[in-house]
């Protein structure tokens, strides 16, 4: 499979976010600016009608990328382009205009709906803010139908606590759709859901992509689900992109040692009983993001680490399969392994 080129909706270039660490009096004196390097120099492109998966372990900065893209956080540096136009908004009307086109779905369906409001309120607000309240009832029904909460009347006046996890997640999606966006940023939309419900939501997202021709960013740390639902997969490690490409290629022929570790570690029923450490794996823990390792951030844990890895930051190296790349010195010559 190759990545077919469709229209680019949203793209980010050199996206960087450093969270300042709370400073004490002593630091004021030392003029020492500490920060969490949550996201560093991230490039990504969302295309119409395609799902881009962003995988990586917990704390690698995936949610931060999504929030940067939704303009919920101000970025430290980098550029976000909507249909090729650089955009920075802080709030107010411009932010609304942006939110109309780029919508975000939050990770936790149990927390992202206000327990004091009904489904109707949530959806109505979304419609009203984006000026689609014209035929309110009709639109509300439409939205619920789109996310297959049918018949709509049954759900409109319910409070979130009266809905199951999957139903809530669907309401969240409906709310995002209420803005009639072009891009949907779904931050781990299923991680809190049970296996059987999970599938329903993912299928729904895929269906929406096809029907509404949305550009979707699908964030997860479940790499297997990325294989199934995304056209393209990007791998993040400690705030940086380390590998990207066609989902099937990335999951079946991982190039970066971290991606390999991730895939090795994922539970796999086909490897019955032979539970052991993946041979590639060096132990160790994720690095501190306040003082990230120099060079390749994975180098302290990497079994293939070379001296170069701890000094120089690896650029993206194109791999043989079209659109597949990895940021690892192993591929410096650009040759196949």
């Amino acid at each position: 499979m190759t990545v077919t080129e469709t229209e680019v909706v949203l793209e980010a270039e050199g996206l960087t976010k450093h969270f300042p660490v709370r400073r004490g009096l002593r630091d004021l004196l030392t003029r020492d600016h500490k920060a969490v390097h949550a996201v560093d120099d991230v490039r990504l492109t969302l295309r119409r009608g395609r799902v881009t998966a962003l995988v990586g372990e917990s704390g690698s900065g995936k949610s931060t990328v999504a929030r940067l893209l939704a303009q919920l956080y101000g970025r430290t540096s980098g550029e976000i382009r909507l249909h090729g136009e650089p955009i920075t908004v802080h709030g107010g009307r411009k932010f609304r205009a942006y939110a109309r086109r780029v919508q975000m779905i939050f990770q936790d369906p149990f927390a992202s709906l206000n327990p004091t409001h009904t489904v109707r309120y949530h959806l109505t607000r979304s419609l009203r803010i984006h000026g689609r309240a014209g035929d309110l009832e009709e639109n509300l029904r439409d939205l619920l139908n789109q996310v297959q909460l049918t018949p709509p009347e049954r759900y409109l006046d319910k409070f979130p606590h009266e809905l199951s996890g999957g139903q809530r997640q669907r309401v969240s999606i409906a709310r995002a759709l209420g803005a009639d966006p072009e891009a949907l940023l779904a931050d781990e939309p299923v991680s809190m859901l049970d296996v059987s419900i999970r599938l329903g939501v993912l299928n729904l997202l895929r269906d929406l992509k096809e029907r509404l021709n949305l550009a979707i960013l699908y964030i997860t740390h479940d790499i297997a689900s990325a294989r199934y639902f995304a056209d393209e997969t990007l791998v993040m490690y400690a705030g940086r992109m380390v590998e990207g490409g066609d989902s099937e290629t990335v999951t079946q022929h991982p190039a970066h040692p971290y991606t390999r570790l991730l895939i090795e570690s994922a539970p796999d029923p086909d490897r019955l009983g032979e539970l052991s450490k993946p041979e590639d794996q060096a132990g160790g823990e994720p690095p501190s993001l306040i003082a990230p390792p120099s060079g390749c951030r994975f180098n302290p844990r990497c079994v293939h680490a070379m001296p170069k890895c701890s000094t120089d930051l690896p650029p993206r190296f194109e791999l043989p399969t079209a659109g597949h790349w990895a940021a690892c010195w192993l591929y410096e010559e650009g040759a196949a392994k």
Binding site: G24, L25, R26, D27
Partner: protein
């Protein structure tokens, strides 16, 4: 360390703001010490005395508010709080030195006792839900809803009297001179019993309740179940796992209440004629005694701040999560 420094800045700011307010409030009150004094004597002091009193109190000179304010800070830093009007010309510092120990001893000890007793009962009530202890809650709530002065006066009427063990007023037997001998201390303790008991009755319920609620909340934490699963003795689970953790949020409440000891004793001291600082404040307000008022406020403000600092430190010591390495 860093944390403490941050707090310190906060304390310095709060102290400045509070003391500034303390400076302005008395000056907003209409009336002046002289008319108050005349009022107090209702006809026993002739109106001819007015002028002499103005001269006496040094109120005949007009200083601008700003220069008074500057003077005030100068005084605060020198520890010189001026001369009281009510007890002219006794220095305010001396009055405070004289009354503060009584307040701190009586209310400090009772607050501490109340906290200890209330917390222990709260631990039991929270640990054994639905037991007799738990059933006592409405009773203690009722007791704590009784206005303090009412309880105190009732206690005096019912319990104190010529033939009773409880003296009805004062901090010690009239005629005794404060000193560290058995007779005086015995008398002081005897005189403090009734006020102490009434304070205890009306304040203990608050502690029981907060501690109980914290216990109930903590008791359903996973680590309590784990402690049970580990087969630890019940007492150990209750004390070292549940109560230890439930206590944490109460520590700051306790420290705050320590801070309010000084300010909150007014009624106790009025009702029991106890020679403390709260009564000083009451007198000072009545007599427009700015210097004394400011002195009492200074003490109150500082004690609240110190108590807060203590709470921070205690929290730091008790809760390892707030400790930062390095």
């Amino acid at each position: 360390m860093k944390f403490l420094l941050q707090r310190l800045v906060f304390y310095v700011f709060t102290a400045w703001a509070a003391l500034t307010i303390n400076f302005f409030i008395p000056r907003m009150i209409p009336g002046d010490p002289v008319t108050s004094l005349i009022n107090k004597f209702q006809g026993q002091m002739s109106t001819d005395a007015i002028n002499s009193l103005y001269v006496l109190f040094g109120l005949d000179k007009n200083a601008s508010l700003w220069s008074q304010y500057v003077d005030y800070w100068g005084q605060v830093f020198r520890g010189d709080l001026g001369l009281s009007f009510t007890f002219f010309p006794t220095p305010v510092a001396e009055i405070l030195r004289q009354s503060l120990p009584w307040t701190i001893a009586l209310v400090g000890i009772t607050t501490f006792a109340s906290f200890m007793i209330g917390t222990s009962l709260g631990v039991l009530a929270g640990w054994r839900r639905g037991s007799v202890m738990d059933g006592l809650l409405p009773v203690t709530t009722f007791l704590s809803s009784i206005p303090y002065f009412w309880l105190g006066l009732l206690a005096i009427t019912l319990l104190a009297g010529p033939d009773s063990f409880f003296p009805s007023s004062g901090g010690y037997e009239p005629g005794l001179v404060p000193s560290w001998n058995a007779e005086f201390i015995g008398s002081a303790v005897q005189h403090s019993l009734l006020p102490a008991i009434t304070i205890l009755i009306s304040s203990v319920s608050g502690w029981i309740l907060t501690m109980r609620n914290m216990m109930v909340t903590v008791a359903s934490e996973d680590y309590i179940t784990v402690a049970h699963a580990k087969g630890l003795p019940e007492r150990r689970v209750m004390v070292s796992y549940a109560a230890r953790n439930a206590l944490l949020p109460n520590v700051s409440g306790f420290a705050l209440s320590l801070g309010f000891i000084v300010g909150g004793t007014l009624l106790v001291e009025i009702v029991f004629s106890y020679p403390g600082i709260g009564y000083n404040l009451f007198q000072a307000v009545g007599a427009k005694d700015y210097p004394l008022m400011q002195g009492v406020f200074l003490v109150i403000t500082l004690s609240v701040l110190v108590a807060n600092l203590l709470a921070d430190v205690a929290y730091l010591l008790l809760d390892p999560r707030t400790r930062k390495e390095g």
